[in-house]
């Protein structure tokens, strides 16, 4: 019988998700003899033509990491969808937009203005050259992919079968996913291949949360000494644990928690949450300023909550592109009272 064919592709990604495949170490060798890797531009020499020449559905499973920022990434994703029986959206950028999705607080125009218009200190562009989709050169026309206005998740562009969450996905989950898919005993379409519990539920610091948790000051990890045993929220440090899916470190404390850093939410939301930012507003507002709530004026509450620097960026750090709004609205900025 022919071996199952596997492909890996990257879109708007940092390369970390490719690294996460390499991190399978000798585990990959266990499956390597059972499969054929037919496309993996990051690690092996393949061309788009090779994919185009394949039959439809020839690839058994294709793992796509990275968000969709450009027309080229969109076209490649569509091509791979056509050639693959299963598509696994791999990693936070692909599943939720991830860090590249934070660009959705701006649009193409403002990004170009800052990157090429002299506002970006690390870009030396004295002539103000702006990349063009088509440029004339003596040899003919040159093309660049179109830079979309909005960063999209893989499933906003193509049909996705499964998701492997995380920035980047834990190797054990990737191995589990590969083994499950190769076994042919497929989970329901749309399944996120990780536990569905919230991170707090597996956190050893959860018990240190007082029964009635009330935060009267927001602290930042860089500015306080962090107690290595106490729940971050109980220390006034924003931790995304309540709205984040567990699994980054098995049934143990989250990887960041174990390193004494709060969770930033890279595993995305458990299935009962739909908009991470809004859910975090609910979770946090429930515990901030609980103590003297009857006596607090609106101004007091405002002052307390103003301590949260950049709430939208913090709550939607990995998930803006997958949120209800998907991006910032650029045109509703009439004067506010």
């Amino acid at each position: 019988m022919a071996k199952p064919k596997i492909a890996f592709y990257w879109c708007a990604s940092c390369g970390g998700c490719e690294e996460a495949i390499i991190d399978l170490h000798e585990d990959i060798l266990k499956v390597a003899e059972l499969i054929d890797i037919v496309f993996w531009p990051c690690a092996m020499d393949f061309k788009t033509e090779d994919v185009k020449n394949m039959q439809d559905n020839e690839i058994t499973v294709c793992f796509i990491n990275g968000a969709i920022r450009t027309s080229e990434q969109e076209e490649m994703s569509k091509l791979l969808r056509k050639k693959s029986q299963l598509i696994v959206s791999f990693g936070a950028c692909s599943q939720l937009g991830g860090i590249p999705g934070l660009a959705n607080f701006w649009d193409r125009e403002s990004i170009f203005a800052s990157s090429y218009g002299g506002k970006c200190p690390s870009v030396d562009n004295p002539d103000g050259v702006v990349p063009q989709e088509v440029s004339e050169v003596p040899e003919g026309e040159l093309y660049l992919p179109r830079f979309h206005n909005t960063v999209k998740t893989t499933d906003q562009v193509i049909d996705v079968d499964y998701y492997l969450p995380g920035c980047s996905p834990a190797p054990y989950l990737t191995m589990q996913a590969i083994t499950t898919i190769l076994s042919g005993d497929l989970p329901t379409k749309g399944t996120v291949l990780a536990p569905n519990k919230a991170l707090c539920e597996v956190c050893s610091r959860n018990d240190s949360k007082p029964e009635k948790l009330s935060i009267d000051k927001i602290n930042r990890v860089s500015l306080v000494e962090v107690d290595p045993e106490k729940c971050f929220l109980a220390q006034g440090i924003i931790c995304m644990g309540p709205v984040t899916r567990s699994g980054c470190n098995g049934e143990n404390d989250g990887r960041c928690i174990a390193a004494n850093m709060p969770c930033r939410g890279c595993y995305g939301h458990p299935s009962e949450v739909h908009d991470v930012g809004a859910k975090m507003v609910a979770a946090l507002a429930s515990v901030v300023g609980l103590e003297d709530e009857e006596d607090m004026s609106e101004a007091d509450v405002q002052k307390l909550l103003d301590q949260i620097v950049d709430p939208a960026g913090t709550f939607y750090r990995f998930s803006l592109a997958k949120s209800y709004f998907r991006r910032k609205i650029m045109t509703d900025s009439k004067e506010e009272k």
Binding site: K152, V281, S286, P311
Partner: protein, 138 residues
């Protein structure tokens, strides 16, 4: 924007504002019909996700009515609501939404007049803001 009739979702706590709205109705007070009422058990039952979903589906305004401080049927739900709305407004502002599209008021069961007036004012305010912009996800 003469012909613009805003779509407004009103989440009303059943113990207070919902009855207030009822009173406004039975007393035949006049107010604009733009609000679609959803009865909730307490203002704190309104998940910020509901509000974001409403805006993302094209609602021009969202109104939440709860019990006066000290009067919440569940003791402290309305304090929580207040904090949530303040924090949510900070997030909505960063998302580019004019936060005047979201309003929280305490209106008791006996304040039919206040409910009617608030609806007049809020509808008028949303009319001035115009329709919520389409989110361009190209």
């Amino acid at each position: 924007m003469k012909d613009f009739e805003p779509k407004i979702v009103c989440f009303l706590c059943k113990w207070c504002t919902y009855s207030g709205a009822d009173l406004a109705g039975t007393s035949r007070m006049k107010y604009p019909p733009n609000g679609v009422v959803i009865k909730t058990l307490c203002s704190s039952r309104v998940d910020p996700q509901h509000i974001l979903l409403a805006f993302s589906k094209g609602c021009d305004g969202v109104f939440i009515g709860g019990c006066h401080p000290g009067d919440c049927h569940y003791q402290s739900g309305n304090y929580k609501t207040k904090r949530r709305i303040i924090l949510l407004k900070k997030v909505l502002k960063q998302l580019g939404l004019n936060t005047n599209r979201l309003r929280l008021e305490w209106i008791s069961a006996s304040e039919g007049k206040k409910f009617a007036n608030t609806m007049v004012e809020f509808t008028d305010q949303i009319k001035k803001l115009g329709p919520i912009p389409k989110i361009n996800c190209e």
